[in-house]
Symmetry: C2
Subunit: 303 residues, 2 copies
Amino acid sequence: MIYKRVALIGLGLIAGSIALAAKRRGLAETVVGTARTAQTRETAQKIGLVDEVFETPEQAVKDADLVILCVPVGAMAAVAAQIGPHLKAGCVISDVGSVKQAVIDAVSPHLPDGVIFIPAHPLAGTEHSGPEAGFATLFDNRFCLLTPTDAAPVNEVARYRDFWEQMGAKVEQMDAEHHDRVLAVTSHVPHIIAYTMVGVADDLRRVTNSEVIKYSAAGFRDFTRIAASDPTMWRDVFLNNEAATLEILGRFTEELFALQRAIRKGDGELLFDYFTRTRAIRRGILDAGQDTDAPDFGRTRSD
Amino acid sequence: MIYKRVALIGLGLIAGSIALAAKRRGLAETVVGTARTAQTRETAQKIGLVDEVFETPEQAVKDADLVILCVPVGAMAAVAAQIGPHLKAGCVISDVGSVKQAVIDAVSPHLPDGVIFIPAHPLAGTEHSGPEAGFATLFDNRFCLLTPTDAAPVNEVARYRDFWEQMGAKVEQMDAEHHDRVLAVTSHVPHIIAYTMVGVADDLRRVTNSEVIKYSAAGFRDFTRIAASDPTMWRDVFLNNEAATLEILGRFTEELFALQRAIRKGDGELLFDYFTRTRAIRRGILDAGQDTDAPDFGRTRSD
């Protein structure tokens, strides 16, 4: 047991997986939770996701040794303001937001002295959401990035790190601004691009009936999974990591125009060299153990 | 048995899968093949991919009832010129190119009278290539699009259709120009975008060391798979489907700029509505049986 009482604010995919992963390894004596909608709370109750479901965040955080904010980035400030006065002295508060500097700015002002804030971002998820989407192995071998400020006691950071490691994650620390820049490249911009491509296809679908969906075998299909992610979460990511997202998008457009020009000019050599270079990167990801080498992702056919 | 003797020109992922799928169901008495490089020919021979491996396309097509060109789109014209004089009268010739109008333009002039050309495009593949990448179930439940011209006898089209259906594919017919437009949306433009994004990340990797690869869990990882596809094949696709690719890319850029503007202006409502709309499209793809609903693609962990 690492924390006696853990409170989860929000009961979606990530919170649900934390509850199940912590239970699996006995990391908490009690895990409680709350969610904004009655429907989510009822479902969580029904499936026994946590030991107790509370109606409000204030109730949920009472006596908790660890509080994790599992709400969209845009809701962090309001939740922090709500729970701030009810946090136990010396408790650890964390979050799972995909953006870190904006969360620190939103949450910190509402925390009383003596509460230890250790922002976190588990790089794990699926395109599904809601209390029934969680599973205990979600974090296995996935990275969890911690971005504690200098104010956080080293022993408390080590303890929280241990919590994530025992849930299966590989934990690393970095500063919040750096986190936001790296994630803009690896996650945020790929998402906005996938959303855009699916949007374009949607326009065309009206012309070509259902063909775009029907013949989506290669390429587009992978984009639709990315573009099926939770709309609220992603709206908040882009609004709260604006600078890094726009910077990387600028680079992306520049490169895209260069390839577009090569297509128009029939410059096969430029295209071939570019595609050869990007192919090597895939090898790096496989070597880093971040994906499966099985053909077609090791996909199990649904049909 | 549908064809007595089948000749495959090129022995990569698709050709290998055709050989294995045809054998599995006894669709051909003999399957022979040839490949440009001695190394591929030797590997194919060693693993027994086809009944006989020939050194040249001329030798391979001799007495064949069905010849399938499984070479990059850019190589089709040269191969057709080479084999044209050696094709058996009345034989069917097909291809598996991702672009159809350009292949028709490249191949048709080299075919003698009495030979029946039925262009095809199986919507199947993985990011792997080469003679050892093929497998017998690659086409199971995947679409194969035929784009025969009016000159092709109906009974011969039906027979070739049967060949693909018995290899597991769902076969549909359409005209070549329409095919090229639909595929630009579902496959070609998604690929150029994925290549671009991975290229951008590669530039940045030099700055942030290996972090881009390390933390590639969500979004970017899916792009790298797409961008790991065969460089020669994709160079030829873009050079040979230039018009449709550039048209769709134009639409894409237009939409991307609209979302970029929404991020800059902090227009959360526009982003939310857009992301909600694209999410629905994923549902359409699952309903069409084109992907698995298992979380994270049903990926098996490689670590």
